[in-house]
Amino acid sequence: MEAARAHAPRPAWSANRWRARLRGRSTPLALLAVAAAVALLVLLPLGFLMEQALSIGISQVDALVFRPLVGTLLLNTVLLVLVATSACTALGVAVAWCVERTDLPGRRAWAVLAALPITVPAFVTSYGWVSITPAVQGFGGAALIVTLAYYPLVYLPVAAVLRGMDPALEETARSLGMGPWRTFLRVTLPQTRLALLGGALLVAVHLLSEFGAFAMLRFQTFTTAIYDEYRLSFDGPAASMLATVLVLLCLVLLLAELAARGRARYARVDTGAPRPPARAQLGRTRWLAGGGLALLSGLALGLPLVTLVYWLLHGGSTSFPVATLLSTAGTSLKLGLGAAILTTLLALPVSILTVRYPSRIATVLERAAYLPYALPGIVIALSLIVASVHYLPTIYDTTQLLIVAYAILSLPLALVATRAALAQAPPVHEEIARSLGCSPLQALVRVTLPRILPGLGAAAALVFLATVTELTATLLLAPIGTQTLATQFWADASTRAFGAAAPYAGLMVAISAFPTYLLTRRLGAILGPREAR
């Protein structure tokens, strides 16, 4: 081990050299065709949705879009996105700084605890709050609860940057006469800017997509209104029209995201700082910081879990429904596995195309496949319903359609993971295999696949996690008679049968905990070596 490292003074392959080499290689047509098919799978249903929304005529569009309801929804949604995103950003940065850059006692435990709320679906957190007080219903409660649920999306990337930051920068600022506070504002914070921006945009996207939490909190946004139009009034065109407005909102965010990501690529902080950065001495305020973190974890993680356990123990409203529990859990697992396999298989060719054969067309296809990342589950579910009812009625109301919806929804997750894995497997190995007589496909199977298997596993785990806790698309697309943990939970919780809902939520959290554990371990490896503590 030591010997090998000692004799490899240069990094094996720099990304720039790859890109220069790979550009202009002729792309295998079969690969291009498969990737194009994946992109089409994502884009076509959306096209049908737009088509339906527009097919109803201009006067109708006018009547459906320019009405008081849409104004209220727009105001509610935009205001909530602004307030909660700002709160998540402030909270995320503060927590990241305390955990990564101060001498806070027990910071290693806090680092884990602060990230954990992301594993509890927001609709379960809302359920926990609503079940103890109806006071959280409405704007204030909704803003509070989604902030508690989504701040880790800012905390995690910002903490990663702080951890990897070169301490020399801050030290230089201090040596130039800046105080700690000015150093933070003028040196530290600007470096986290891209991570912070990316995290904030991610929060905003999640908020636009959030359905379960808002429905539970009786706060009306686009997603809940679309659901009501579709489920309660069976008004397809009205729902499609609202969904189209929501898609436009999402596109605004997507454009901002693309702009941020384009720059982020160059500014990415390399893994592993030469030495751990110096930590700010908190002194007496560390009890304040510790107390704040304790309060945060209590509200974001403790409260939902404690209420969950309370309702599990004191449910009372029904006897423990073992049979239903097992059958719904089985369904969730099956759907999760199906979605994990299908999505990873769909993501792999797109990633191979973009990593191994970069070209303009590859970029376009990849962007298309990333689109669902910015689209609410309810929009994708609705578009699949429209598409299948009108063009392929045989798959309407089938498990297959539901799994396709999951695959479209979680394709961006799988793309990120497979892409990262492929980028770490140098193409020189495939070339050597070719020179030893392997066809391109054999080279992929014999050399690249064994290397990226952990990455594929991570992709599958991410998809599984997203699928088991997915509510919106499942509610709309689950065939009649199919109940998952999420839908069964929803059926009980939305009728305020808190005790009856508890076992499903508990099992959902337990099932999703395992892949989360695997992922955080993997994430640690990706983010670079932790400093020795």
Binding site: M1, A3, A4, A6, H7, A8, P9, R10, A12, A20, R21, R23, G24, R25, S26, P426, V428, H429, E431, I432, A433, R434, S435, L436, G437, C438, S439, R446, V447, P450, R451
Partner: protein, 353 residues
């Protein structure tokens, strides 16, 4: 009839994003030889190898391997069908396979157990390492395994892409010698690219110097070092002392006196007025005790390398630039010392520009 040449390249050209890298390159590799392509970093050496291996498509020109055209206007034979082995810069062993599996990778399934793997491991002196994984080997061992892996299917040609570049300087010489011995013993024809002129000269049977996307000169190392086709090449291959002079029948008059010349390898002949540029190697220039009647100079600076040393000498003749002489390490003159300069052997005369 002669057996077909293991590698014959003619008129090869390749551009990346409109920047020409190879421009009509010609190269012949004799059977059983180790040929080195020598050129500065970024001159397109690696691109040449990748075109021969089939990893890239050429813009123009022809490549034949063992008499079979593998690349021309209409043909692009896939890498796996060329029978060309490849040793990458860092070895690029497959990290998920042990040494034996790496070496046997290119063999048909049936032959992997036939003893061929063991035979190759013995050839590279790593019989006891069959079950080790790449990360358990030193850099030099990894490079030997990579060579064994490339040789296993008995390819007509092995390409080596700066195979010693990633190694420590202390290890490089040893691994070079080992690789040279293995290639000789296996009888394989090999083409190696390097930017290290010392490596090329000491290792290869034929050295081809690459410049401006083409081969400037290809020859055996001694002839190449002795008779480079122009002054630029002379400097690239080692230190050169360049003086202006006037050519007569078989000698030239220079600041260092009358020097016997050998022909002009560029074949252009001197300009009509007889003005030439004289090329000497520093080791041809000897420092002696000052003697009357010989060119004199003063030692400006010395550089000591242990086994030998160089001295910068400013000649008393003001028309002459400073020159460099090489001396054995134990005979290094002192800075400031007055010396007589004596030239050994013949000089090369290039036409003056």
């Amino acid at each position: 009839m002669n057996p077909p040449s293991p590698l014959s390249v003619s008129g090869l050209s390749k551009a990346f994003a409109d920047r020409p890298v190879l421009a009509g390159l010609d190269l012949e590799v004799p059977a059983g030889s180790l040929t080195a392509v020598l050129g500065p970093s970024g001159c397109g050496k690696t691109t040449l190898l990748r075109l021969i291996a089939g990893f890239e498509h050429a813009d123009g020109g022809t490549i034949s391997v063992g008499g079979r055209v593998v690349c021309d206007e209409h043909t692009h034979v896939a890498p796996e069908d060329r029978g060309v082995g490849f040793v990458a810069q860092e070895g690029a062993l497959f990290p998920h396979l042990d040494v034996a599996a790496n070496v046997g990778f290119g063999l048909p399934r049936a032959r992997r157990r036939s003893g061929r793997v063991q035979e190759l491991l013995e050839l590279v002196g790593l019989s006891d390492f069959a079950k080790r994984y790449p990360h358990e080997l030193s850099g030099g061992q990894q490079q030997r395994v990579a060579l064994a892996r490339a040789l296993a299917p008995a390819p007509g040609l092995v390409l080596l892409d700066e195979p010693f570049d990633a190694l420590d300087a202390s290890l490089r010489a040893q691994v070079r010698a080992e690789v040279r011995a293995v290639l000789r013993e296996s009888g394989a024809t090999a083409l190696l690219v390097t930017h290290d002129q010392e490596e090329a000269l000491s290792l290869a049977d034929v050295v081809a110097v690459m410049r401006d996307g083409a081969i400037a000169q290809a020859s055996d190392p001694q002839a190449l070092y002795r008779d480079p086709v122009d002054a630029q090449l002379a400097r690239f291959l080692g230190e050169a002392v360049l003086l202006s002079g006037r050519l007569h029948a078989d000698h030239a008059e220079t600041a260092l006196g009358r020097l016997a010349t050998r022909g002009d390898p560029s074949g252009n002949g001197p300009s009509t007025d007889g003005a030439v540029t004289i090329m000497l190697r520093p080791e041809q220039i000897l420092c002696r005790e000052p003697t009357p009647g010989t060119p004199h100079g003063r030692v400006l600076a010395t550089q000591f390398f242990g086994h030998d040393a160089t001295a910068r000498i400013s000649l008393d003749d003001p028309s002459c630039p400073e020159i460099t002489a090489r001396a054995a390490g134990h005979r290094l003159p002192q800075v400031g010392e007055q010396v007589s300069v004596v030239v050994e052997g013949t000089a090369l005369a290039y036409p003056s520009k």
